[in-house]
């Protein structure tokens, strides 16, 4: 069913009775051309683009839980392409361009809102650093605006500009950045894939990847063995657990990141604002809740729930730029598991095993990558070649030394 203003109006006259379920609940077939492990944003977008761009229909996505139960439904929904490393900028810009046409493309309202992403700077040296980042973006044709203090004040007058420790001197603005409705992104890709014949198998856990003579033959799952010519691991925080069943060891550690949402208040924050003297980001959802987060909890974890020091740190950073929200009540907070890579950048590549592919290492920033990640991974699975914007995201960069370390912190994943 095509969604449009006409379908809404006509359903209104039919008592909303003709809406169809958005995807099927098929039983697994014995064999697929390609099997995707992980039904998060990236797994679903991979399936969508495999079907749409490359004509694959005999493929499946297996998800151990329900769709959107992972980080795709837990993130703070920030979408941007303000990176500075040459290996990253073209990829994230490709993603932002896909976001700009995504809702028309998959005919689903993902509530993409290009409200702007503003990174605040608090010192002269940080201004220079942000100017450099803005220049790096512009060299790749991505617009960036370096705002001075008064220009920042025009956009977000309620910040604590004269904070004694972290005065606000200005900010780097990417007006095309913004937020999107995270669950709707997963649902839109799922619907688009399902309607093209992709089987989405929920409550189906990958237990063991079967490899014979250096070649993948399929996956043992909680619903039996499924044969496949090619297998793609897209399991975010659980990547290494699945990869090790095929004997692969990866440059990845899993950590928990927390996120927070407050009670709804009247419209206050017009864009995404990030604090430059720490690591804090905040925006306001269309329902009015303030959505925010900070750094991860600094030790490895698969618990999908965080600890109190992380909460305290986040709230302290909020108070350092926005004391005006100190009386706003917190509604919920939660955690998600993230695949932190050793240089803070993702991996989309083949492995040493024939037919086995990986898409992982998304760290804090995989939501914005959802469309391009699937787009490029589908390209790799279908053609065997890296997509031109993803050629730097190779697994062997840790051997060759061509790491993509945006933060410059070295092989310490909890610092990226």
């Amino acid at each position: 069913m095509h969604y449009s203003v006409f379908s809404i109006i006509s359903q209104a006259f039919k008592g909303q009775k003709d809406w169809k379920p958005v995807w099927r609940y098929p039983d697994p077939k014995a064999e697929y051309e390609i099997l995707i492990i992980g039904g998060g944003g990236h797994g679903l977008s991979t399936a969508y683009y495999l079907a749409k761009n490359h004509g694959y229909t005999n493929i499946a996505v297996i998800e151990k839980n329900y769709l959107g139960s992972g980080s795709v439904g837990r993130n703070t929904t920030i979408v941007r392409s303000n990176y500075q490393e040459p290996g990253n900028i073209p990829f994230y810009e490709h993603s932002l361009k896909l976001w700009e046409g995504l809702e028309q493309d998959f005919n689903y309202n993902a509530m993409m809102s290009q409200r702007g992403v503003l990174n605040l700077y608090h010192s002269d040296s940080q201004r220079d650093d942000y100017a450099r980042r803005g220049n790096a973006m512009m060299m790749h044709g991505v617009r960036a605006d370096l705002l001075n203090r008064e220009q920042v004040r025009d956009v977000v007058p309620f910040l604590d500009f004269d904070n004694a420790r972290f005065p606000i001197h200005g900010g780097l603005m990417q007006w095309r950045g913004g937020t999107a409705r995270h669950d709707a992104v997963a649902w839109g890709f799922a619907r688009g894939a399902d309607s093209r014949g992709v089987d989405i198998l929920q409550n189906t856990e990958a237990k063991q990847i079967r490899v014979e003579n250096g070649k993948v033959t399929g996956v043992e799952t909680s619903r039996g063995f499924i044969k496949a010519k090619k297998v793609g691991i897209v399991a975010a925080g659980n990547t290494t657990r699945i990869a090790e069943t095929a004997g692969l060891r990866l440059p990845i550690e899993s950590y928990v990141l927390q996120a927070f949402v407050s009670e709804a208040i009247k419209p206050l924050i017009p864009c995404v604002v990030t604090f430059g003297a720490g690591h804090f980001y905040i925006s306001q959802s269309d329902k009015g809740g303030l959505v925010f987060g900070a750094s991860l909890d600094y030790y490895t974890s698969y618990a999908a729930r965080g600890n109190l020091p992380g909460v305290e740190d986040t709230i302290e950073e909020a108070m350092a730029i926005m004391p005006s929200i100190s009386r706003v009540k917190l509604l919920r907070h939660w955690g998600g598991i993230m695949d932190m890579s050793m240089d803070g950048s993702p991996i989309i590549d083949k492995t040493g095993i024939d037919g086995l592919y990986i898409n992982c290492g998304w760290c804090y920033g995989g939501f914005k990558a959802t469309p391009a990640s699937g787009y490029c991974f589908a390209h790799l699975l279908a053609t065997g070649e890296s997509h031109p914007v993803a050629t730097a995201l190779k697994l062997n960069r840790f051997e060759t030394g061509y790491v993509i370390d945006e933060a410059g912190t070295g092989a310490q994943p909890n610092l990226h």
Binding site: R249, L250, P251, E253, Y299, T300, S301, F398, E399
Partner: protein, 92 residues
């Protein structure tokens, strides 16, 4: 989370900083496959779901490096000891 420091006793986790997997051995730089061994040493970790042994520094305390036994699925901590064999011996 409270971490039992063998010197200071149970202390708030905020006093500690986390390094990662314990027991990694620095490879011999003269080994014929030293380059690959160093790649693994710097970049490859077990990333275990379950009980792990990991290095923590009691940075805002006695400043000892300690090996903590912790479950990454539950955050439960079941033991800790000094990382350095000399310190371990001296403490006995």
């Amino acid at each position: 989370m409270r971490i039992p420091c063998p010197f200071c006793g149970p202390r708030d986790s905020q006093e500690f900083s986390f390094l990662g997997q314990a027991g990694l051995k620095r490879p011999d730089p003269n080994a014929p496959d030293a380059q690959m061994q160093f790649h693994d040493y710097v970049h490859i970790r077990d990333n275990k779901a379950g009980v792990t042994q990991e290095l923590w520094l009691h940075a805002n305390g006695c400043r000892s490096w300690i090996v903590v036994t912790r479950n990454t699925l539950t955050h439960e901590i079941t033991g800790s000891e000094f990382a350095s064999p000399q310190v371990k011996e001296a403490a006995q």
